[in-house]
């Protein structure tokens, strides 16, 4: 992955980060669709995968996504109190907060993993969050820029 001179000067270390984006079927998935219906715009770096509920997400999926070449993982679900399955987002919050801690401990920059809540009507929040994350990750080197992966050398 080569960076142009211009990009280097602007602090861009990874012009094309790959971000795995988890959507839930009832809130953030619909919010993402609404971004489309409203013809909003965000970078194509986020690669969507839809699950019924954020509580379906096994913490291992996150870790494995990095091992498979992701530069970042973004998990989005319903706001607290709004989960279609009552409490799924609370479970996801508990499980994935631990993942965030663990990733940090093993030297992964916290900017690479984000968990956030987006309702079916929050298309603009969806755009803001995805755009921000892409911008943030452009400033970090690719996850596999060293042979061990991660940001421990920074």
């Amino acid at each position: 992955m080569s960076t142009s001179k211009q990009e280097q000067e602007s602090g861009i270390k990874n012009p094309n980060p790959k971000i795995v984006l988890f959507l839930c079927r009832w809130c953030s998935g619909k919010g993402a669709d609404l971004a489309g219906t409203s013809r909003l715009n965000y970078p194509p770096n986020v690669l969507p995968i839809m699950v019924n509920c954020t509580s379906r997400i096994d913490p291992r999926f996150i870790v494995e996504a990095f091992l498979d070449g992701a530069d970042g993982v973004l998990v989005t679900g319903c706001h607290f109190g709004d989960c279609h399955y009552k409490t799924g987002n609370y479970k996801a919050y508990r499980r994935l907060s631990l993942v965030a801690k663990l990733l940090k401990q093993v030297g992964v920059n916290p900017k690479r993993f984000r968990l956030t809540w987006i309702s079916a009507t929050e298309a603009t929040k969806f755009v803001k969050v995805t755009t921000e994350m892409v911008e943030d990750l452009k400033k970090l080197p690719p996850y596999w820029s060293n042979e061990n992966g991660g940001d421990s050398d920074e």
Binding site: K18, V20, W26, C27, K30, A32, D33, L34, A35, G36, T37, R39, L40, N41, Y42, P43, P44, L47, P48, I49, M50, V51, N52, C53, S55, R56, I57, D58, P59, R60, F61, E64, A65, D68, G69, A70, G81, D82, C83, H84, Y85, K86, T87, G88, K91, R95, S119, A120, T121
Partner: protein
């Protein structure tokens, strides 16, 4: 898992909606090159008949056993393509949608990158579809009874229609009577028929209908389950007066020492702590306001009880929890008006002679605080000049509501006319931004006011209202003449817009219904599904989903009732079979899944010592699958192995 997976990928152009940002030719080439697929085809509109025929014919000609349609969101056409596949003999659960419109072509500009992303999404969907197994929808019996929440005109109409169709209905109303806001109105535009006269027969019909179970002073406290089988808990709060015994003699109010504001009259008159909201209230019974009564815990006063000859009063009544099952739910929880206390430029509602439209309805009403004679609140004088301010706190994104409530122009015109009818020598001045009269006979009604009955219309916004002696000085601009105007008025009526009621906000959380940016309930589709919510089996009627007049509210109520009755008319409903399943050979009986399941759908079958899923209860969240330490419980067609493969495909493609 043994048969060879023959995947067909169908790419939709959606006219230019997809094709203009995704290079369809290139995308098809990539898919053919990178993935193991039997066939890749495209069509201008996959959802059209030719598109569906292409899908059906290809399934048969190529013996496809897995299908991907790369098109719009699965919320749009998943059912279309699944049933087309079924017609061609393929199990519908072997069809998956790759969303390359809402999540690709409509949100990206760079054609190359968009095409690349579309290809990855298709690749990831292939990993899912090849692992999908044929499923059969679960058949579940339908509880043939409906719940209607909110007893305004919307809830009343919906309950009557469903009951007339032959189904049982429970109508839950928070307040002590049904009727809602319509019961507070004097006359209604554009015909000026008396609101009570057209409403009360319907209220009585509710109370007499053998199929309607009316629960007033009641609230829904929890809702569980799904379309066809909602399990609902309703709290019936104590009324402290036995509805069956109360004979409306009114002896109790004479002795009650507690005087409070009467909310039915917009606090323009007092009432007692024991009261009847209005004479035609349904149920026809007095009620005790437990907040202010001195008889309820601690018992300080029991004057009403002492004079009640029929012994209808009981201070010991307790809240009651009623549990019932319903096949469908209609939400008709209505509106509130934008508080005039929020409008600083018009005095924060502090001046007694600056009132809201709803206040004015009470002044106009024969059963109102002034018996229908228009007297201003400050000194009881009949006002000789009244200013009606349209759009008070509306269409003002900087400070107030950004939207138009669409009924206020009409009700202000109505108010001006009614005022002229009662005070013949009075002057009525309407300040407006635009007069919006889109409704049958509405423009004629406005013309009648402006041209025949000499109501004055001034185009311009009122910037300020200040006290001036015993009058009010209304300052504004006439934007047609381009001049500042100042008018002295004896009374000012602010036409405030509609906002979601508190009850609407509460119920949206309870039922997990989405709201729009204004807090009104969001319909499943703003044009084509105006009375359906995003949750199947839950319908919305009336002003809970946005400002409406009575005709529109009633049409929605009948529409929602018809939708609900359609569900109640079927003995069985089909339910998503995407539920959890256990592999007993690896399961260690650790109970983790039992503990995380939000539905109590998983249990240990003691007989066979196996963890078992109750199919009718499992909703398919997959929480158990993520928690199982040995990977022994999986969500059908959303297995861990499948999700991992999907992630890989996204990253490698």
């Amino acid at each position: 898992m043994d048969e060879k997976k023959k995947v067909g990928v169908f790419v939709c152009h959606c006219g230019r909606n997809i094709a203009q940002t995704v290079d369809i030719e290139k995308l098809m080439e990539k898919v053919r090159e990178k993935y193991d697929v039997e066939l890749v085809e495209d069509n201008m509109y996959m959802c059209s008949d030719p598109g569906q025929n292409l899908l059906k014919e290809s399934i048969q000609a190529k013996n496809l056993n897995r299908v991907i349609v790369a098109a719009c969101s699965r919320d749009m056409h998943e059912p279309t393509f699944r049933s087309a596949a079924q017609e061609a003999g393929l199990n519908p659960y072997l069809v998956e949608i790759a969303n390359i419109r809402e999540q690709v072509s409509w949100v990206h500009d760079d054609k190359e990158k968009a095409t690349e992303k579309a290809s990855k999404i298709i690749g990831s969907t292939i990993e899912k579809v090849i692992r999908d197994e044929p499923l059969e929808p679960l058949k579940i019996p339908v509880v043939q009874r409906a719940l209607v929440i909110g007893g305004g005109i919307a809830g009343i109409q919906a309950a009557l229609d469903i009951a007339d169709a032959g189904y049982e209905v429970t109508l839950v109303e928070k307040s002590p009577t049904i009727g809602g806001h319509m019961a507070q109105l004097a006359e209604t535009f554009p015909t000026l028929d008396c609101s009570q006269c057209i409403l009360t027969p319907k209220m009585v019909a509710v109370s007499r209908h053998p199929k309607i179970n009316l629960l007033t002073t009641s609230e829904v406290v929890s809702v569980d389950g799904y379309v066809g089988n909602f399990k609902v808990q309703i709290r019936k709060n104590p009324r402290y007066v036995d509805v069956d015994k109360c004979n409306l003699c009114d002896d109790c109010t004479a002795v009650c020492p507690v005087v409070v504001h009467d909310e039915y009259n917009q606090s323009l008159s007092p009432r007692k702590a024991i009261y009847i909201p209005f004479p035609q209230a349904v149920p026809a019974s007095y009620v005790i306001d437990e907040e202010t009564c001195l008889g309820i815990d601690p018992l300080i006063c029991s004057k009403c009880k002492d004079v009640c000859l029929v012994e209808a009063i009981n201070f010991d009544m307790q809240p009651e929890i009623i549990e019932e099952e319903f096949g469908a739910i209609i939400v008709a929880t209505g509106y509130d008006t934008y508080p005039i206390e929020n409008i600083g430029e018009y005095g924060y509602g502090a001046h007694p002679d600056i009132i809201s439209g709803l206040d004015f309805e009470r002044l106009l009403s024969a059963n109102g605080p002034t018996q229908g004679v228009i007297r201003r609140p400050s000194d009881g004088k009949v006002p000789k000049t009244v200013v009606f301010v349209h759009c008070a706190g509306s269409r003002d994104p900087a400070k107030h509501l950004p939207y138009c409530s669409k009924i206020c122009c009409m009700y202000s015109t109505k108010h001006a006319l009614q005022y002229k009818h009662l005070v013949h020598d009075g002057t009525a001045i309407n300040f407006y931004i635009d007069v919006r009269t889109a409704g049958k006979d509405y423009e004629e009604f406005y013309k009648r006011a402006a041209e025949e009955e000499k109501v004055i219309y001034v185009r311009g916004k009122v910037s300020e209202i200040i006290e001036d002696g015993d009058q009010l000085l209304v300052k504004g601009v006439d934007t047609l003449l381009g001049e500042a105007v100042e008018v002295h008025a004896d009374l000012v009526v602010l036409a405030t817009g509609l906002v979601p009621s508190k009850g609407t906000q509460e119920i949206s959380h309870l039922l997990k219904l989405s709201c729009d940016s204004k807090g009104f309930l969001k319909e499943a589709h703003p044009k084509l599904k105006p009375v359906e919510s995003a949750l199947s089996g839950i319908f919305i009627a009336g002003t809970a989903s946005g400002p409406k007049d009575i005709p529109e509210t009633v049409s929605q109520a009948s529409g929602a009732a018809a939708k609900a009755a359609t569900i109640l008319a079927s003995e069985f409903l089909e339910r998503e079979p995407q539920i959890a399943q256990v592999d007993p050979t690896t399961c260690g009986l650790c109970h983790t899944c039992i503990n995380v399941c939000p539905y109590g759908a998983i249990y240990l079958d003691e007989g066979v010592r196996r963890i078992t899923v109750r199919e009718a209860l499992c909703e398919g969240c997959g929480s158990c699958a993520a928690a199982c330490p040995s990977g022994s419980i999986e969500l059908k067609n959303s297995t861990s192995e499948g999700i991992r493969a999907q992630i890989k495909a996204l990253l490698q493609g």
